[in-house]
Amino acid sequence: MGALLVWVLRKWMPITAARGWLLSIFPLMSLGLLGRAWWLVEDKYLSWSWAWVPAANLNISFYYDALSALFGLMVAGIGVLILIYGGYYFADDKDANRFFAYLLLFMGMMLGVVVAGDLITMFLFWEGTSITSFLLVAYKYKYESARKGAFKALFITGGGGIALLAGSLFLGHIAGGYDFKTIFSQAEVIQQHELYWVVLGLIAFGAFTKSAQVPAHIWLPAAMSAPTPASAYLHSATMVKAGIYLLARLNPALGGTESWFWLLSTVGLVTMVTGAYWGIQQDDLKGLLAYSTISQLGVLTFLIGQETEIAFKALVIGVIAHALFKSALFMCAGIIDHETGTRLLSRLGGLRQSMPITFVVVVMAGLSLAGSPPMFGFLAKETLLATAVHPTLSTATSWLFVLAIVVAAAFKLVQAGLVIVDVFMGEPRDKGVKGHEAPWGMVMAPLLPALASMGVGLLPNTAIVATFFGKAAEAAYGDKVKVSLALWTGINIPLLLSMGAITAGLILFSQRSWLIKREERWSFNRVYDGVLGGMDRLAFWATRTQTGYLRHYLAVMMVAMWVLVLLLWRFDWPTLAPFELFDDTRLEFDLIRLVSLVTIVAAAVTTIVLKRDFGAILALGAVGLSVAVYMAVEPAPDVALVQIVVDLLATVILVLALDRLPREQRRAAQTLQSQISWLRAGIATGGGLLVAGMSYMALSTRPRVSLVTPYYEQSAKALTGASDIVGAVIVDFRALDTLIEITVFSLAGIGVFTLFRWAARKHGDHEAAVANRMEPSLAALMQFSIGERPVSAYLQAVVTMVLPVALVIGGIHMLYGHEQPGDGFTAGVIISLAIGLWYVVFGFRETRRRLWWLRPHGFISLGVLLVIVTGLISMGVEGYFLASVDFGKMIGLPLPEGMKFSSGFLFEVAIASAVVGGVSLILDTLGRPAALAVQIHRAAQAEFDEAEKMDSQ
């Protein structure tokens, strides 16, 4: 809980002064709070939960017990030191605020991981650590190695994160909940479940990638391109321990089985030995430490795999011991790098004189790494060896384990020797490398954990620490664990083995020139590169399938639809309607329908047959009108009305668009028609057959009982005062739909406008470049219609009258929308049609000049705003948005029968307004004469130039 509060606060803390000492307050605070919280809980646990998505049974919850406390205190404690250290490391870097922000964010995420109370919360924080770690590794993003290393880390740990999520979902499903309490109580069920191995595999994979187990370890050395404070913190003490924490946390639920034992032991041991061996081969000091970390993580994984009390004792000691000495060593590596400018072992040497304190620190931490007394690392190794020789294992495996541990311990001693001797003793290998001591605060940071490393081993009064460790180990083990921290336990097998390991290590170290090769070897990086390269190639081939030809896409879609239909159909016919052509009771209706269907199809075929585009567009209009006839006999008068007017409008728009295409282009395109493509015909026939069949099945088999329609029919009059049920559905029952619809329609208008005016201008399309910069004197030239032909005055007179008539018709439609066919859509489109006629007859300029009040954007905003305002007012009256209210009745307006001043009426007005706005935008843009405009613009420009010339003379 305490950590949480700090975490929340910390996220919002401004990182201004951002220097180590100041910022270390935050981890210090959480350190104090975590400690305090631990003191409060003692051997119980704290948990807290908040329902996040109750429907999906997802919570944000936290769980704090001894194991959490162990890791949490470690994260916060090392965090304090790292921030102080980082303050010095970045002392002269103004840009480092970013680094500290990332580091604090990471710290919060890491604390989140260890106090998370369920798998989902844990996953969130887990991914958070992956991402913040990516940011930290890529901090020096100008270097390619940093970018590559960061990507590698994110790729591998992110992949592990996905596995963890999948595993968590399985686990939560089996256990019946995601929180740890539930999971622990279901341990038996989980282990007996048939999907146990899936859960185990996925979760272990997630943990292994995070904790850099072989073969996923390759990201850790690559991540060494991070600034050293980050490496010291993330890649030694904290982030890589997240996987260990996860395994330890779930051990009571998942552990104890044969597969658990073998999986963790094998991976752990392999990682331990290979990490220790490769560590020796490194030239880079940080690389050496990274491999040594990998080795130690292998040890910890191995320990969790064991099902003995002493293993968990070894685990907690190992975690803390490693965190202490490894962070100290990393910080020292950073100091050496910082003060000498290099961290290559082949260049360093003899720094003992120039950097005495660092030397002392490295010796202490290095001895701990080597596992020699009296350091904490010795204790860790002792307990580890004790685990391996524990009598519960079979003899053969036991000896294999022991051998592996001894070998690894010997290698580690060599590593420690390299760090201590090769860096500080002797003479510098490269004479140019000279060091001097770092500021005291920077040295103090690694000194503290190094001292602690020794202190835990030496100080006599360690009962409190031992109890705490014991509790943490119990939480992971699931049973009582007694931890004693005595260094001397008498002469026993572990001690003898330890001696053997030290001796072997010393011998190896003296022969190191033979052992160390430092050359390019085969590694799992090749696999990684191969996988990435393969993905690139796959993506390349996948994009090759995009031919760019519409017919190919449509063909694929049609075939896919056929396959889907055949698959889902499974060769059993649903019971179809009786096979009869006509229904006797409505014979006259059916005859009209038949006629309209025949006209529809005939007109549609005509659009193909006709050679000229203009003719095809007219035939298209005929299709639309025939559809309207079919609608009228449905009987659906409202729909038929809208269909008629929209069809006319669409024809007008198409003609306008046709006019804008250059004539020679059109002619060239028309000649293409004569070629009949069999592919095209095949696709069309296939699609048509499919749709016909599907329609037949759908129309004849679906239950002819609607769920909502009866409700609309009964309550239309009562609730909205509308006789026209369709109208009531549109403006009242489904008013929100309609609001969205008119918005979409208006957006279409704005989209056309934008496409032509701005997008086109940006790309230098000539006709769009001509804006409204006409001289008024040129208006006389404008008595041309579209197509630049003069129009007879009689026609002009008629057209002039059409607009007011259309306005009146539209008004009636709006007023009586609830009582008779027609509504706001129809009204809007009728008015728009009249305007469209003006564009056709008078031409663009003249229309714009005479209809000065026609402001498309204004109409659109008026429409949308009116709906919202009406909706809000009726919410004030009725209590919900877009309620139906009869305002006329409310304020007592005397209105004739059938005419209403209601929210419905206002809605109709709004629809009409938005439609008029949208359509006139489209007309305005498409109706802008291209060639003529250019011509006139040039004329105007010439006139203007002439005037300029006159002026200058």
Binding site: I653, L672, I725, V726, E741, A748, F756
Partner: protein, 110 residues
């Protein structure tokens, strides 16, 4: 009638697809409008009742289903907006490439 309607819708759909596949820009636009008509017809025919009189309150006889009618009404208007946008895009693209032949417009492919 169900059978005849289905055949009609299917044929209209087939013609629409054929037109959409034409290389001529304007024919493609025609195809899209035809497709919209076919779909609207289908929706309307799929209403739950076969009406004899329009859907009005206190109608004397069987009413057609009002809900698909409302949907189709909305769809008609929306599809006109969509057609306008598609036309604008077709026009812009074909103007930039200086051709009305869709097959020659392939600069977006790579």
């Amino acid at each position: 009638m169900v059978l005849l309607t289905s055949i009609g819708i299917g044929m209209l759909f087939g013609v629409a697809i054929y037109q959409m596949l034409q290389r001529n820009v304007i024919r493609s636009a025609i195809g899209i409008i035809l497709l919209g008509n076919a779909i609207n017809l289908f929706l309307l025919a799929a209403g739950s009742q076969n009406g004899l009189v329009p859907a009005y309150d206190k109608a004397k006889d069987v009413m057609p289903d009002a809900l698909p009618q409302a949907f189709v009404l909305t769809a008609i208007v929306i599809s006109m907006g969509g057609v306008a946008v598609i036309l604008a895009m077709l026009y812009i693209v074909s103007a930039r490439y200086g051709t009305g032949d869709l097959d020659e417009i392939n600069g977006l492919k790579h």
